[in-house]
Assembly symmetry: C2
Homo-oligomer: 303 residues x 2
């Protein structure tokens, strides 16, 4: 259903490497949503405005509508660079929003900057908005946030600021190994094997130095020991999350952890942490993204 | 130059996933060689004989020429399956050669089986022939062989037998991460940085549990700290060889190690081992392959 343009206050945009998601918002929440696969990765600089308008044009009326975006759209290869802010700092700062000139006068386009950390060198774009959203939803939160995904992030939060963070290529490694490497031959189909996940996770956490030896074993066991595709895929996931947890131990050991993510992946991380005696709270990713973007818009509206 | 068919005793074939290499042989050695990219990975079962004949037809005469092949051509997805032999065993056994029926009566086609290990599960196809060649060239060798590559192998050799072995996906991981992952953006061009390789190797060997945290750092340092493409690529290599060495420590610690490989990669492994106080001998890969295949042919010729 297309809402009447007069009822829309602003438009929220989550624009990553692979996907573009937009929401028509009013003070009460979501009026409509849309998405496309016009991610940053497939657009030239002059293609962004048209890709956005393809989704939001039906929502635009006579007056100017604010559009607030986060994600890779603000990278150097994106629509318009929004320079990183350096931690320790609040996850978002309205004063750092970057205004983007547009051809279409019906929108006022703004992009939120990502965060950078000097040592160890690290960057994020998009997750800072989810972190801000988590803090908007739970203002008293102090502790650790885990954001699983293509480039999983762990962030230490204290007094409303991101103190430090670290990125792990866990999701991208899983995708490459399960679909592009020799392991793909033994991973077809769906299905999941919790016991295989648990065993691989424990093995990787207790002997992370063996990871390079474990991966080809998935192929070999498929060839000569009847390892099923669902067990192989679950073990690959357990191994990769296991070495992530091994390297992220300072983040979660004895800490209050909340996981911002989509259900299946967040549940796997929660299961993995529970095996280490850590009870994690789950926060839905989209709700955090929208709360973060709203925290940038709402002060504007109040002015 | 095409040798006269009458002068050829036999044809040696190294047939992997990506490439097909053939050599026209007599008792004195190589008379001619040829190669194509008709690897196992791109051929249907009925395409193998034609792919082979495209290279060797000029060498064939009136009498039957023996052809001895090793590699993925003998896998279940290859031309004709040559079932794995189980370690501990000699790397090759003439009695286990598998005869392959051909349409062309001018060749007598044989494929060497690979090796398998039950626990930990592992397999090899092609490397067993290089190992046999190394032992043919150095009959007294006892110790450890390292075979870097797409799927790097470490093998414990004793009394002419492969006692155990282990495979690492180091080469395939390097290829995927440097050309398919987000890290590819910071790895264009050639060039090498020994100091970056050495530092990453030491880091990965001393703290292998941090590997999952180190990889994205290559991207982040490229974005915010000016890491050069050649340093990034050298560090990626150092990190991946480092975690391989960490997992393979029981193979090389205090052992006599020989490396079978091509020059650049074998030199990187030798450098990495030298940093751990291990002096490795280098054996050229092609010479080992040919000596291994010859060890299968020569007893036939002597009968």
């Amino acid at each position: 259903m297309t809402p009447a343009p007069t009822s829309i206050d602003w438009i929220a945009v989550d624009w990553g490497t692979s996907n573009l998601r937009v929401w028509a918002m009013d003070a009460g929440g979501i009026l409509a949503e849309a998405q496309s696969d016009d991610g940053m990765g497939k657009l030239a600089r002059d293609g962004f405005e048209a890709a956005l308008l393809r989704l939001i044009a039906p929502w635009l009326g006579d007056r100017v509508t604010p559009v607030v975006a986060c994600g890779m759209v603000g990278s150097r290869q994106g629509w318009h660079e929004a320079p990183y802010r350096a931690v320790p700092c609040t996850p978002l700062d309205r004063a750092a929003l970057v205004a983007v000139p547009t051809t279409d006068a019906r929108i006022r386009m703004m992009i939120a900057p990502g965060l950078k950390q000097a040592n160890p060198a690290d960057v994020m774009r998009g997750e800072e908005t989810q972190i801000a959203g988590a803090l908007a939803l739970h203002p008293a939160f102090d502790g650790v946030l885990c954001l699983p995904g293509t480039h999983a992030k762990w962030a230490q939060i204290s007094a409303g600021e991101v103190v430090s963070f670290q990125t792990f290529m866990t999701g991208e490694m899983f995708a490459l190994l399960s679909t592009q490497s020799v392991l793909r031959h033994g991973m077809q189909g769906d299905g999941w094997d919790d016991a295989a996940f648990d065993a691989a996770l424990s093995d990787a956490l207790s002997r992370p130095e063996k990871i390079a030896a474990r991966l080809f074993g998935l192929r070999a066991e498929g060839l000569i020991a009847g390892l099923t595709p669902q067990a192989a895929k679950s073990r690959l996931s357990g191994l990769l999350i296991g070495i992530e947890l091994a390297a992220a131990r300072p983040y979660w050991l004895g800490q209050a952890v909340s996981i911002i993510g989509t259900e299946a992946l967040a549940t796997s991380y929660a299961r993995a942490l529970a095996m280490q005696g850590v009870t994690a709270r789950l926060l839905p990713a989209t709700a955090c993204t929208l709360a973060g973007l709203a925290s940038l818009y709402q002060p504007m509206a109040a002015q």
